[in-house]
């Protein structure tokens, strides 16, 4: 036990205690996990129900990752909210003043919060997307023969967990920038749900949106204008990095 004082490790421990002691956070994480696994099974059932009415071409066009990752949109809502609330909850209640008085350097708080929430999201969503894959695929196995080793499938299942982690980080960064729950959540969902409409008007811009990068990570068969997985991943990292840069700037420059 070293002397009493702030260390990065201790700030991480503090942020972990904060995460684990808020019922709303654990509950929302649970919703995301349930959505990933539950919707995978439900959509798989619905798909095999349609088997008899499907043309041979339709049967061939079923993509396993689309079925077993059906829960990702719902999970995205839950994870986005968790990410935003990680910090806006502190601004709304005034807790941020206690946090920053204890760690007046401030940046360790940003890193610790991002790190803890990203780690928790990544771990849970890896478990959820792989469980979702195996559960949904077990249902599909009645009529289809899909494997994790099929081209692009393993990458898509990983991609789901990675893109959900990116959504969480974007949410937390936006929360640090806007300091307001409603504002940060609307901005985040604007980026994830409204911005993709731009694709209709400008395919060029549309190609480089955060959601386009996410789609590339989650699709086994990359076709046409779609970004390849590696550039898509790097693009997503750049968006998250830019948001974190904005968060650091606001945290250091503005009064608490």
């Amino acid at each position: 036990m070293t002397a009493i004082g702030v260390t990065p490790r201790r700030v991480v421990r503090s942020e972990w205690i904060k995460l684990a002691t808020l019922r709303s956070t654990t509950l929302t994480f649970a919703v995301a996990v349930a959505a990933m696994i539950g919707l995978s099974v439900l959509v798989a059932w619905a798909t095999i129900d349609n088997w008899t009415s499907m043309s041979p071409a339709a049967r061939r066009s079923v993509a396993v990752e689309e079925v077993v990752l059906s829960g990702r949109h719902l999970a995205q809502l839950a994870i986005g909210v968790v990410g935003v609330m990680a910090i806006t909850g502190e601004y709304a209640t005034g807790m941020i003043r206690a946090t920053l008085a204890a760690v007046p350097e401030r940046m360790p708080v940003l890193w610790a919060k991002l790190g803890i929430y990203a780690a928790a999201t990544l771990a849970l969503m890896l478990v959820a997307s792989f469980t979702g894959f195996f559960a949904g695929n077990a249902v599909l196995a009645e009529h289809w023969d899909f494997h994790l080793s099929d081209p692009g499938v393993l990458r898509s299942v990983f991609g789901a967990a990675i893109s959900l982690t990116a959504v969480c980080l974007l949410g937390t960064a936006l929360g640090f920038i806007l300091r307001n729950t409603a504002g940060a959540i609307s901005t985040l969902f604007g980026i994830l749900m409204v911005l993709p409409l731009l694709r209709e008007f400008s395919p060029v811009i549309g190609r480089y949106l955060p959601t386009s990068a996410i789609d590339s990570l989650l699709t086994a068969r990359i076709e046409g204008e779609m970004l390849r997985p590696l550039p898509a991943f790097l693009l997503l990292c750049a968006y998250v990095g830019a948001a974190i840069g904005g968060a650091a700037f606001m945290l250091l420059r503005k009064d608490a």
């Binding site: 201790r10 421990r13 002691t21 909850g89 206690a98 008085a101 350097e105 009064d255 608490a256």
Partner: protein, 307 residues
């Protein structure tokens, strides 16, 4: 020891704190007084590194708070606005804060006991009464066993027993050699707790003096004398350092002479006295006098409005 040097904070056009310079000494309780909106909270937030000064600086034990390796050990902070996540229990709130400094579980339990929070420690802080919230704030402030304490309106919302508890606690902590800065807009509360006063108004320093000095200022009151012979008595009382005013109705207001001297003088000259009353200004009045020109939001006297 807390010191601020030429500390200034502007929000656009408005200057909240205007070139403040003062030092808060260890071992005593220092009251930070001023009407609402005088800049007390902003000053404290700048000392704690929460707000950035427009110019000037604040030091705690000769170092900017932000550069301290163990801030919770340096300053215990209680801000007027609550700084607790409403959905977390009191114990978990304290655990999370303690963790940033590697402060152990035992100290968390100690401050819970010290502030009398045992029965509610596992309840969500959002459901706390004002008084309980204030106790949790004190518990957080004491977590690091800090050498300096900075408390913004700490008795707000406390019941009389709580106020008494707070006073004893602060006196005890000061006696241990800690530096204690305590803000309030109530002189009466300060007179009971503080040894020294720093008075500000509209962001500027108005007075930096001991409570005794202020008491001495306040007791320079006047003596009210009622007599049918105002003229002759006024003539007798006149002298160097003595001021006599005659507001009429057989009244004289005498400053610079004690009531016994006036009574003695009247007896020697056979002048009847109907009333002889020393009028002392209370500390509250002395404080109002000090800050009269610096009050941000002043209530207009009813008579002024009617007239």
């Amino acid at each position: 020891m807390i010191s601020v040097e030429d500390l200034t904070k502007r929000y656009g056009e408005k200057t909240a704190v205007d070139g403040l310079t003062f030092t808060v000494q260890p071992g005593i309780v220092t009251g930070f007084l001023g009407p609402n909106g005088a800049g007390k909270s902003t000053t404290m937030r700048m000392i704690a590194g929460l707000d950035r000064p427009t110019s000037g600086r604040a030091l705690v034990d000769r170092r900017p708070y932000v550069e301290d390796p163990a801030p919770l050990r340096r300053v215990g902070l209680l801000l007027e606005a609550k700084a607790v996540h409403t959905s977390r229990t009191a114990r978990n709130h304290l655990r999370a804060l303690a963790a940033t400094h590697g402060i152990g579980r035992r100290r968390v339990e100690e401050v819970i006991e010290l502030t009398g929070l045992q029965d509610v420690a596992d309840k969500r802080a959002g459901g706390f009464s004002l008084g309980m919230g204030q106790r949790l704030g004190i518990a957080s402030a004491l977590l690091g066993d800090p050498a300096n304490l900075m408390l913004d309106e700490p008795v707000n919302g406390l019941d009389p027993e709580g106020v008494l508890w707070m006073r004893r606690l602060l006196r005890g902590l000061a006696a241990e050699g800690r530096t204690i800065l305590l803000s309030s807009h109530l002189m009466s509360e300060m007179a009971m707790t503080a040894d020294h006063l720093i008075v500000i108004g509209r962001g500027r320093l108005i007075a930096d003096l001991s409570v005794e000095e202020l008491t001495a200022q306040a007791s320079r009151g006047h003596v009210r004398v009622r007599t049918p012979d105002t003229g002759p008595l006024a003539g007798l009382l006149a002298g160097p350092g003595v001021n006599v005013e005659a507001p009429g109705n057989g009244l004289l207001e005498v400053t610079g002479l004690e009531s016994d001297a006036i009574g003695e003088l009247a007896r020697r000259h056979d002048l009847p006295l109907y009333e002889l009353t020393p009028v002392r200004a209370s500390l509250e009045e002395a404080f109002m006098e000090l800050t009269r020109d610096a009050v941000e939001y002043r209530a207009v006297d009813i008579e002024e409005v009617v007239a």
